[in-house]
């Protein structure tokens, strides 16, 4: 063990300092054996100088830190000094204490390191205070971070020291980026309308040393250019000695509130300008709001009505209504389109449609009602007039229908009478015509030889005329019979009927005419007599209307179209100009003079017969190019 070097001349003084030091001052040799131990060491570690001297310093080191010592001794041997090394040591009573140790090598006169001096300070209390401080700071930070408002703190020079998350999101700056910057660099604010910069609130606080609020309509421009209306206040952070340590700025995004304000303003404008009366009242039926529409409809101004009972508007016999309305409102019910009567200021009774909704306070308790009243006096009047008009119309319609029925019966009787009349007429007309013919025949037979040639010509002309007349009467008779006689329908063999017609009429046979038909001819539903009449008339026309000297050539064919059959009769005749086709099927319609004699009944008869059989007749033709007549009838199954 190396001898302790003799003290310097100031030894007495140094020894006194060591003895009186609050810090433990201990020396040890390079083997860690304690060589000196002052009173403070005794106080801090609990060991007396007698107990500690000659003992290893390891007695002070807790088991889990025993490796510290060789490292310290290594560094001391290398001549290093260890400053303010904070560690844990064990007192004699086993209690662990936090210490701050400064260790310096001790050299002999030759400069050789022979040991180490240790100055240890008990920092347990200090640490405890520090922890406490840190804890409260953390809590403070956490509090500022978690509040809904944005918070920015600055130091006394207006440089940012803290920003919470809300402040970060509103400014677009992160705390780390903003820290140390002057507030105006991060917190850019302008007036919403003038867009002039607004004075830095922190600067104001630092100057005025008091809390300042922000003017209305302040816009915060974030780092990315986003603008938000904000509301803020800045307050000084005072230290104990009344000096300002910094400023805390609290602000919030009022975009939503501003939007809500705008909505509220708009709603107010709507209410004001509404055509309907919009009124609010409390649960005692006292009017609390009265818009312009209410003024217009009821005649009272809002000054007259606010504070008055709604009963002012309700006719006395309807006062019960209000009681019922209030009790329904209290149950939270809404009343929609309730039609009732109210009285205007001038005493007029108005028909109105009411919609009433409960108004609730923030707790959801019904505290009153809003009423929307629409004047429906005119509408109701119109409705009543409409109802009356409808009833009147209904009556007229019924009367009309009755009249139509009556007239229809009369008309049907008239038609039946007319049919019977025309039948009888045509029938009875035949007898005298035939008598005339017969008398003329007798005249010729009995007295023909006595007549001069001129007279004979005249008699023959009379005979010809009566024959035409008889023919016409016969056709008319057929027509009237086709019109009113029952016409039972049955399946008809078209081919047989055509053959039959041709068989009995030499004018339809060669060499007078050439009639071809394309087989098979479809069977149709019809009345045999009527169908025969139709075809006979059509063939009559086909052979009649040909150019002089030409032999009629006729082609008959059929085509099936859905549930119907088309029977076509094509001829090589003189044709019919398109202008004449429309009147072709009309009664007594004749297109030609004496060159082609006729009475204009034939095709009218065809149309009547086809229509009675539920079909239709048509023609396609061109002057000079022949005609094609089409009969369309139901197909026979």
């Amino acid at each position: 063990m190396a001898a302790f070097s003799p003290p310097a001349p100031s030894y007495q003084l140094l020894a006194a300092i060591v003895d009186s030091s609050d810090d433990a001052i201990v020396s040890k040799d390079l083997n860690g054996i304690v060589t000196s131990w002052n009173p403070a060491a005794e106080r801090i570690f609990g060991y007396s100088a007698q107990e500690a001297l000659g003992q290893s310093i390891l007695m002070l080191i807790p088991e889990d830190r025993q490796e510290e010592e060789p490292k310290i001794l290594d560094r001391i041997r290398r001549g290093e000094r260890i400053d303010h090394f904070e560690t844990v040591r064990r007192k004699k009573d086993g209690q662990l204490i936090h210490v701050s140790v400064t260790i310096s090598p001790i050299r002999d006169d030759c400069g050789n390191i022979i040991g180490a001096s240790k100055i240890a300070r008990d920092i347990s209390l200090q640490l405890k205070l520090l922890h406490q401080l840190r804890g409260s700071e953390e809590r403070f930070r956490k509090t500022l971070s978690s509040i809904g408002d944005a918070v920015i703190a600055t130091d006394r020079h207006g440089k940012i020291t803290f920003m919470n998350a809300v402040a970060e999101s509103l400014t677009g700056w992160t705390e780390s980026a903003a820290k140390g910057r002057a507030l105006p660099a991060v917190f850019k604010i302008v007036h919403e309308f003038t867009r002039n910069p607004v004075e830095d609130p922190v600067a104001q606080v630092l100057r005025r040393k008091e809390v300042v609020g922000l003017a209305n309509h302040t816009l915060l421009i974030a780092r990315d250019g986003t603008e938000r209306p904000i509301d803020d206040s800045a307050a000084p952070i005072a230290e104990t000695n009344e000096e300002i340590a910094g400023v805390v700025l609290v602000f919030r995004d009022v975009t939503e509130r501003r939007a809500a304000e705008i909505v509220t303003q708009r709603l107010a404008a709507i209410v004001h300008s509404s055509e309907d009366a919009i009124i609010s009242k409390d649960l005692n039926s006292i009017i609390t709001n009265w818009n312009e529409g209410a003024h217009r409809i009821f005649g009272y101004t809002s000054e007259e009505m606010i504070g008055k009972s709604i009963l002012t508007l309700i006719p006395p016999n309807l006062h019960d209504e209000e009681t019922q309305i209030i009790s329904r409102l209290k149950r939270g019910e809404r009343i929609e389109h309730f039609e009732t009567i109210r009285r205007a200021k001038d005493g007029r009774l108005l028909e109105i449609s009411l919609s009433i909704s409960p108004i609730r306070n923030e707790e959801g308790v019904v505290i009153g009602a809003s009423k929307i009243a629409r004047d429906i006096t005119e509408r109701k009047q119109t409705e009543r007039q409409l109802t009356l008009a409808k009833a009147e119309l209904q009556t007229y319609a019924e009367q009309l229908e009755k009249k139509v029925k009556e007239r229809t019966v009369v008309l049907q009787q008239t038609v039946a009478e007319l049919e019977a009349f025309s039948y009888t007429l045509t029938h009875d007309l035949r007898a005298p015509v035939r008598a005339i013919q017969s008398f003329l025949q007798i005249l010729l037979e009995d007295h023909g030889s006595e007549l001069k040639d001129n007279a004979l010509v005249l008699v023959n002309k009379v005979i010809g005329s009566t024959q035409r007349m008889d023919r016409m009467i016969l056709d008319l008779l057929t027509f009237t019979r086709l019109s009113h006689e029952a016409m039972p329908l049955e399946a008809i063999e078209v081919e047989n009927i055509i053959r039959d017609i041709i068989h009995y009429r030499p004018e339809f046979q060669p060499p007078n005419a050439k009639i071809d038909f394309v087989l098979p001819l479809c069977r149709v539903m019809g009345n045999e007599a009527a169908f025969k009449q139709c075809l006979t008339n059509l063939l009559d026309n086909a052979v009649k209307f040909v150019r002089a000297g030409e032999i009629p050539q006729i082609k008959i064919y059929s085509r099936s179209i859905g549930s119907t059959v088309l029977i076509c009769i094509e001829d090589n005749g003189i044709g019919i100009s398109s202008g004449d086709q429309a009147q072709l099927f009309r009664m007594f319609s004749r297109l030609h003079g004496n060159q082609y004699p006729g009475n204009g009944i034939g095709l009218a008869l065809v149309r009547k017969a086809v229509e009675r059989m539920g079909g239709s007749v048509g023609v396609e033709s061109e002057a000079g190019k022949g005609s094609r007549f089409r009969l369309q009838l139901s197909k026979a199954l």
Binding site: H427, R430, A431, P432, R434, A435, Q437, S438, F439, Q441, I442, E445, D470
Partner: protein
């Protein structure tokens, strides 16, 4: 063929038809007596021998009746029904003459007891031909019933 002497009653209101038929009888050389009843009631009176027809020598009971359907007072159908209801003349042969060919009229006439239904021919030659046929069939080959016993007067 011997011409028997029959009495034929013609019930017809149309003077023209009477003229034409009489002429046809002449042309067809019918020699039998032709008596005329110008309406249905007169036909009934003649058959019953009533009033001016009581004298059967002047107005003998006919062997054949040519009956027009359309007549004033009593129609041909009325006369026909009356005839078939009378024991004295229910077997009298009746040829109905009509200008109609309506099937229901034809049926009705036969149902009422007509022996033939003839449509009045239109022309003079046809009438003569018809009368010739009537003469040949009804007045020559047909065995007509003997006139019923005359009513005692």
């Amino acid at each position: 063929m011997t011409q028997k002497n029959h009495c034929i009653l013609l019930a017809e209101d149309d003077e023209n038809d009477v003229i034409f038929l009489k002429r046809a009888f002449v042309k067809a050389e019918v020699n039998d007596a032709l008596h005329l009843a110008p309406d249905g009631q007169i036909a009934i009176d003649y058959l019953s021998g009533a009033g001016q027809f009581a004298d059967r020598n002047t107005f003998p009971f006919p062997s054949l009746l040519l009956l027009d359907l359309k007549m004033p007072r009593k129609s041909g159908m009325d006369v026909l029904r009356w005839i078939r209801a009378q024991p004295t003349c229910q077997i009298l042969p009746v040829i109905v003459f009509s200008s109609s060919v309506a099937p229901q009229e034809v049926s009705a006439a036969y149902e009422a007891g007509a022996n033939a239904f003839v449509t009045k021919p239109a022309g003079i030659p046809e009438r003569t031909e018809l009368v010739r046929l009537i003469k040949g069939f009804w007045l020559t080959f047909t065995q007509l019933p003997y006139p019923a016993p005359m009513r005692a007067t």
